[in-house]
């Protein structure tokens, strides 16, 4: 048996919702503990970090703004991979993963816009500007809301799965636009200072708290996402059971 067959077998076994519920139930306590621990350490490091010589104390907003923006994009990337799972492999949990990531991604995008605005006001002198970075992130926020509305508009999750997956993949074009907007256009938003080909340009005293906070946000995302996926599986089970009960009553009448 090749390695591919083994990994496909493991992947396919996860498609069984009952097996997924059992596995996620075992993982969740450890994931949640790791998320809380890394958040506590990250917050301590964020407030122990020195103030910026130009920005003063407002640089502390960076430790929650940048991870929120990263997670807003990562969450959409997770949704795009899940959408491929829906369209190509027809993995039963792929649509569950994509749908449940939506409100979490919307929350992180909202936080990146809000904290960015609260950082922009004292540093740029304005709450908002329609530059390429801010506008493309705002478009991402609208895409999250639009996809949530699409799921809400259809009662049967199976009917919403494929159009939502197609729309998610089409919208993925916005992710590289967000990332490179600061290089392609003249923006008020600063260019990248952590994920760069020539390495980070932030001093270690601020880089390490930022990375720990990014890890904490990532763990928070996966904790909330697993919890939301379990809820969605239960929701679909309730729907199926109600439909079966209605059919049995209808058949018996």
């Amino acid at each position: 048996m090749s390695d591919t067959t083994i990994s496909q077998g493991w992947f396919t076994s996860l498609a069984n919702p009952t097996r997924f519920l059992a596995l996620s139930g075992r993982i969740l306590p450890y994931l949640a503990t790791a998320a809380v621990l890394s958040l506590v350490i990250g917050l301590y490091m964020s407030f122990a970090a020195p103030e910026d010589y130009q920005q003063g104390i407002t640089v502390r907003i960076m430790f929650i703004h940048v991870p929120a923006a990263w997670l807003a994009m990562m969450c959409y990337s997770v949704m795009a991979i899940a959408s491929l799972g829906t369209l190509v492999w027809r993995h039963p949990l792929a649509d569950v993963a994509a749908k449940t990531a939506l409100p979490i991604g919307a929350a992180f995008t909202f936080l990146s816009l809000l904290t960015g605005s609260l950082w922009g006001r004292p540093m740029w002198g304005t709450w908002w500007v329609w530059d390429a970075r801010l506008t493309s992130v705002f478009v991402l926020f609208l895409m999250y809301l639009g996809l949530m509305a699409l799921h809400k508009a259809m009662d049967d999750p199976a009917r919403a799965a494929r159009p939502a997956a197609v729309l998610t993949l089409v919208g993925f074009i916005n992710i590289p636009i967000i990332k490179f907007s600061v290089d392609w256009w003249n923006t008020l938003h600063q260019p990248a200072s952590v994920i760069r080909l020539d390495g980070p340009t932030i001093h270690a005293s601020m880089l390490y708290p930022l990375l720990v906070m990014a890890l904490a946000y990532t763990l928070i995302f996966f904790t909330l996402h697993l919890m939301a996926m379990r809820n969605e599986i239960w929701r679909r089970r309730v729907q199926t059971m109600r439909r079966q009960a209605a059919q049995s009553i209808g058949g018996g009448a």
Binding site: N16, T18, R19, I57, I64, P122, M227, N231, M241, R242
Partner: protein, 56 residues
């Protein structure tokens, strides 16, 4: 104009409220779904796969 400390406080407070709100929403949603499942099972409704001896 607010002080710089106020901008930092508002940013952290908004983040805490949003993430805590999301957590509470997901926890309450899970509790409601589990309650519905328990009620349906108490009424004798079984999933077809379960009643047929399946595992999913």
């Amino acid at each position: 104009m607010m002080s710089h400390e106020a901008f930092v406080f508002l940013s952290y407070a908004a983040t805490a409220v949003t993430l805590a709100g999301l957590l509470v929403f997901i926890l309450l949603d899970g509790r409601a779904r589990r309650r519905e499942l328990t009620e349906l099972e108490a009424q004798g409704v079984r999933r077809r796969s379960k009643s047929a001896g399946g595992s999913s």
